[in-house]
Amino acid sequence: MKLSKFLLAGLVAATSFTVSAESILIKNAKIHTLGSQGTLQQSDVFINNGKIISVGKKLTNSADRVIDATDKVVTPGIFAVANSLGLAEIDALNQTVDSVTNDEMSGASFNLDEAFNPNSTLIPHNRVNGVTRTLVSPAYSSVHLVYGQGSIMSLNGNYNPLIKSAVAIFGSYGESGSGRVGGSRATALKELQTLLDEAREYADNYEAIFAGEYRELGFSIDDLKAMQDVLNRNTPLVMSVNRASDIMTLLRFAKKNSIRLVLKGAAEGWMVAKEIAAANVPVLIDPLDNIPRSFEALGQRIENSSLMNKAGVELMFLGPGFQNTHNAHTVRHSAGVAVSYGMPYEAALKAFTATPAKVFGSDTSYGKIMSGYDAELVVWDGDPLEVTTSAVSVIIDGELVNMATKSKRLRDRYKDISTDKNTAYRK
């Protein structure tokens, strides 16, 4: 026993740098490719070296592992968006939360990449439920209107989680935003304009600025630097906003400044859906939220997603309210609710896979089940939007994910409590 373990360890150590992951053949699945092949019935996916090699019927590739997916469904892994996965363990314990800062110098330049902890218990908890990547973002700010960058991280659980850094810059407008800057939307809008104006000044005068031969600017050099990608349209500005008139203000603001805009929240988005669609502005919403929770969200309604979709707005889904980090995976159920109120099925599925990949970058390697794409997908035991469906296999970087979680360990320790109360030594 001991000897064989020792030998195995030696073998793994000796070969782990040269041998790549095993090849996998998924057989007989219903596959939502989200690509030109559409939805395939009883089809196969062959995976090797971290990539999807082929997708089709009756594939004959020999594989190290075969997964029989009869009556099962394959989709790209869930792309959770705008949360604190890896950046927060317990919301109410500030010392475990890195997605918020009150540093006045860190607005648009606030970048979370190095704060991400791949060993957070939230990572496996969401991963076994189908989340394979996330766009982490600053949670909020009590200081800035524009308060930091979002990056795409893998839930692969290793120390190289970064997929793409600084793909978006986050901010807010309306009730919460104006509270930070003079108490009025009018002062908030002025502040936003000043940020962009100073960022332009910085681009045109940075030599003089560094030489100390320029007037003092209101924003930190780091923030103005960070805004360059917004000015040159590489990076969208993601603005939390709810009131219809505020959405219109931001659409005009984006047009005037020629920047890319994404709306987040958009409680009254359906009221100006045509205008949002015409401006080609994608929207991030929590499709479960139908509560008129503030005077700027009086028009909030459950049909918001389907009405915006109908008007041609490109939609991405957030998980449920304050649980969008710990339970980011349940975004698929929220998508199911959106479908029950009229959102087309495939658009709802894309709203937490392909669409965020398209909006925030990375759609050339993720978001479709097709040859050449990253092998990052989930095998479900039924309709992935259904509440009675579960993930049975999750694949990231071409490798099968270990399905253990802390929750399952606790469950197994206590499941027979009625017959055996001696839990402390039950590992």
Binding site: E89, I90, D91, A92, L93, L122, E268, M271, L288, D289, N290, I291, P292, R293, S294, F295, A297, L298, G299, R301, I302, E303, P320, G321, F322, Q323, T325, H326, N327, T330, H333, G336, V337, V339, S340, L385, E386, V387, T388, T389, S390, S407, L410, R411, Y414, K415, I417, S418, K421, T423
Partner: protein, 467 residues
């Protein structure tokens, strides 16, 4: 036993008996029960729904079944009913549809934390002292909260509205029928007992500890509960003695009334049910010991994230657990989540409930129960729809003391009934028609039968109603 005695005592307090002591120098006035329910069952024609799949919450799934109700009450349920002959009978063919009892949420703050969520109407937490047993949630309920109608459209027919969890003892809860009224009394569930909100753990110790006063620790919490129960026991002793003297025809000195102790005495007398916000298993065990020390019963632990760790103890003590299907991690006492929690509690023979504590969650309790069921099934437990439906109906009714009136589809119970457009445990299913006491109070297909609060009226556009 306790119950009966208390009722007699109250009767003595309340009216004629007291007036009879003619030479009492204090002029005894007849005391009327304040804030009594003024809910009225709406008259409605008899209804016969046929060809439905029925989850009775009494243990059965009836395929191709029918249900007949009139005058607010269920007359019969089964798979062999013949159409009754009432002249004005409304017959609904529910082929392909499902029927369940009205959904009951044992943990809601609708009305006390209404929408919009602004400070001026955030009335759920009397955070001015750690024990505020004297406050009643019903006095904070805003009947025009637009969230009530959203819950109704999701099949919720009754709910317990609780004070928040800032305090060790937060005050009385109230159980409401989900009907709009001009006052909370129009909504109060007739004959439903009051609940008492208590809270363990982080919230009270944070709220008061941060003000530099007790409690600042969990041991401070426990000392706080026990101090209150000692006061309440003394108070009860005084009233018991007084009531006895009145019964004996020799009235002694009447104790001075204390609103706070009235409520706590109600618990000791078995009239008010304890609803205890408590996440951690070890704290629940401590709370059960306090209940034994002062001889009262805990009806339900709420937010009971760790009930699975003491499911045997909860079954033994006949205590319900009100749980989420998957919420976790927002604070440390919510860290040891297990999605199988509800199923494991149920499996141990304890009373399992899925609750919301959320204006959004209350609209998806059927799906939350479905998720909890799925977690249980995945670990190999035998749980069917006819079992899981109990978590949001009859078990919830039991927790708030209305299980004899509602919560299951059985003869003579209130006709609180939902017709779903499909299996209620599917993400795609919606409540189509909702009956409360036999009257159609919500119809998805008929805008005339969708209630609109004052707040909703013309809120977004003057000529329209907020949705």
């Amino acid at each position: 036993m306790k119950n009966k005695f208390y009722k007699t005592a109250i009767a003595a307090l309340l009216s004629a008996v007291v007036v009879s002591c003619a030479d009492d120098s204090e002029q005894e006035k007849e005391i009327i029960e304040p804030f009594a329910s003024r809910y009225q069952v709406q008259e409605f024609q008899p209804v016969f729904i046929k060809n439905a799949t029925i989850l009775t919450a009494a243990g059965e799934q009836i395929n191709d079944g029918a249900i007949y109700f009139k005058d607010g009450k269920i007359v019969s349920v089964g798979d062999d009913l013949s159409e009754p002959s009432d002249d004005d009978l409304q017959v609904i063919d529910a082929k392909g549809k499902w029927i369940t009892p009205g959904i009951i949420d044992v943990h809601s703050h609708l009305g006390v934390y209404p929408a919009p969520g602004v400070q001026t109407s955030a009335d759920g937490n009397e955070m001015t002292a750690p024990v505020t047993a004297e406050v009643w949630a019903e006095h904070s309920v805003w009947p025009q909260d637009p969230q009530f109608s959203l819950a109704l459209a999701a099949g919720v027919t009754s709910m317990q509205i609780l004070p928040g969890s800032a305090n060790l003892v937060g005050g009385r809860s109230v159980t409401l029928k989900n009907v709009l009224g001009r006052s909370v009394m129009d909504m109060k569930f007739p004959e439903a007992p009051h609940g008492l909100k208590m809270a363990c753990g982080e919230n009270p110790k944070r709220v008061y500890g941060s003000k530099g006063r007790a409690p600042a620790t969990r041991m401070g919490n426990v000392a706080g509960y026990r101090k209150s129960w000692i006061q309440a026991s003394d108070y009860k002793k005084q009233w018991d003695a007084y009531n006895k003297s009145v019964e004996a025809g020799k009235p002694g000195k009447k104790p001075k009334r204390d609103l706070k102790l009235d409520t706590l005495m109600g618990v000791l007398n078995g009239e008010i049910l304890v609803h205890n916000h408590c996440y951690r298993a070890d704290e629940m065990a401590v709370m059960l010991d306090i209940a034994k020390e002062f001889d009262y019963k805990v009806s339900t632990f709420h937010h009971a994230i760790e009930s699975y760790k003491i499911a045997d103890l909860l079954a033994e003590n006949d205590v319900c657990s009100a749980m989420w299907s998957d919420w976790w991690g927002f604070k440390q006492e919510a860290y040891d989540t297990v999605p199988e929690n509800v199923a494991l509690v149920d499996k141990a023979g304890a009373c399992a409930i899925v609750h919301s504590d959320s204006a959004v969650g209350i609209q998806h309790l059927n799906k939350e129960a479905a998720k909890a069921m799925t977690s249980g099934v995945n670990m190999g437990l035998d749980i069917k729809a006819e079992d899981a439906i109990k978590w949001i109906t009859i078990n919830a009714a039991k927790a708030i003391g209305v299980e004899k009136q509602t919560g299951s589809l059985e003869e003579d119970k209130m006709a609180d009934i939902v017709i779903w457009d499909g299996n209620p445990f599917s993400v795609y299913s919606k409540a189509e028609k909702v009956f409360i006491d036999g009257a159609l109070k919500y119809d998805r297909a008929n805008a005339e039968l969708q209630p609109v609060s004052d707040f909703d009226l013309g809120a977004v556009k003057p000529e329209e109603n907020r949705l």
